[in-house]
């Protein structure tokens, strides 16, 4: 799994470095650097071909669109992962609290109903069975 990412990362780094060198050549162009420029342009195309070959290995990888929002704003995409984990934990705690509260309410209700309607509650327990203590 990590190998296909490493392969893509390597190709992307080479591509970016090639583009950077191309920018240096273009920033102060001289006639003698024409061959170098042509070479860099063809390296750019072969780089794109290599990146496209990596695509087949990564067809099952899905990236959430919200991550692109972070990148477009110049923010670290790891913040998205952090926020996902934090919100998942917060929601987990919230639901756990609800479950615990409802379980306590159920046991309280059964005990109070048992005091008020003892015969009906014994019939209820006979139908549903004895609930496990919460």
């Amino acid at each position: 799994m990590a190998e296909k990412f490493d392969n893509l990362e390597e190709h992307l780094e080479k591509f970016v470095e090639n583009i950077r060198q191309l920018g240096i050549i273009v920033s102060d162009f001289q006639p003698s650097s024409q061959t170098g420029l042509s070479q860099k342009l063809n390296f750019m195309i072969t780089g794109l071909q290599d990146i496209e070959k990596c695509r087949q290995q990564l067809h099952d990888i899905n990236v959430p669109l919200e991550v692109f929002e972070y990148i477009d704003q110049g923010r670290n995409p790891q913040l998205y992962t952090k926020e996902c984990l934090e919100s998942a934990l917060a929601k987990n705690e919230q639901v756990k609290g609800k479950i615990d509260t409802l379980t306590k309410f159920k046991s309280l209700l059964i005990s109070e109903l048992g005091k008020i309607f003892p015969e009906e509650m014994t019939k209820y327990k006979a139908i549903h069975g004895d609930d496990p203590p919460s």
């Binding site: 102060d28 042509s38 670290n76």
Partner: protein
């Protein structure tokens, strides 16, 4: 409690209480009279749900439902532990994650911390309007490369800032040492000239000032310079 008693065991010859008597909204027809003592108005009953046992088995309960199937995985369990994400949680939430994109990609050149909308380089624009291109990449032929013949000289000022990186405090010294050691191919000797010229370019504003100062000094001391008043005794003698 009194309401429950009234619904529970008392025979009602007049029929069941309508929705308005129970305090709920009106507008729905009343339940037929043969339903029995414990019957709720129509809007109180949830439609759907598990199959109900016949009424005779559940007396005196008429609307008793089966309990829902217990799910093994609920919010009661710690899902981060369940899915073995403790390491990821400690990595992202335990330590401080830096805000900027350049902290995630320190080796990437250019100004990447600025929003993509400013220079029309956003990923959203690529997704919404993907560029129209052919299916394959083919190398450029000689005829195509003639379109890439550039004018000599430096770029216009409006395009110069594109490859400049923001200053990095920690890597300043490394940055200075790293750049000259870039693995440029030896087939382009002009690149070394570019580096030299780049260094020259960085000194340009200082050089210009020095040149101007030198010119001024030369002009002050040269006899051929016109318009010098009182600076030289020869000019004053002619007047």
């Amino acid at each position: 409690m009194t309401e429950i008693f009234s619904l529970y065991g008392q025979p009602d010859s007049q029929g069941p209480a309508g929705p308005s008597a129970l305090g709920f909204g009106s507008g729905k027809p009343q339940v037929p009279q043969n339903m029995g003592p414990m019957c709720f108005p129509h809007q109180m009953v949830d439609e759907g749900g598990p199959i109900r046992k016949p009424a005779a088995m559940n007396e005196p309960f008429y609307l008793l439902r089966e309990l829902p199937m217990e799910n093994e995985l609920t919010g009661h369990t710690n899902l981060i532990t369940h899915y073995n994400l403790e390491h990821a949680y400690n990595k992202f939430c335990g330590k401080k994650v830096k805000e900027k994109l350049s902290n995630f990609l320190p080796e990437l050149p250019g100004m990447i911390d600025s929003p993509g909308i400013q220079d029309n380089s956003s990923l959203r624009s690529v997704i919404e309007k993907p560029p129209v291109c052919n299916n394959s990449f083919s190398p450029l032929t000689g005829a195509m490369l003639t379109g890439f013949r550039l004018h000599t000289g430096p770029l216009p000022e409006q395009y110069r800032l594109m490859h400049i990186q923001p200053p990095k405090k920690k890597n300043k010294h490394k940055h200075k040492h790293h750049r000259p050691q870039d693995p440029l191919p030896p087939e382009t000797p002009s690149d070394s000239d570019h580096k030299k010229k780049k260094k020259k370019k960085d000194d340009d504003p200082d050089r210009k000032k020095k040149k101007k100062d030198k010119k001024k000094k030369k002009n002050r001391h040269s006899p051929d310079h016109p318009g010098m008043t009182g600076a030289q005794p020869s000019s004053s003698s002619l007047r």
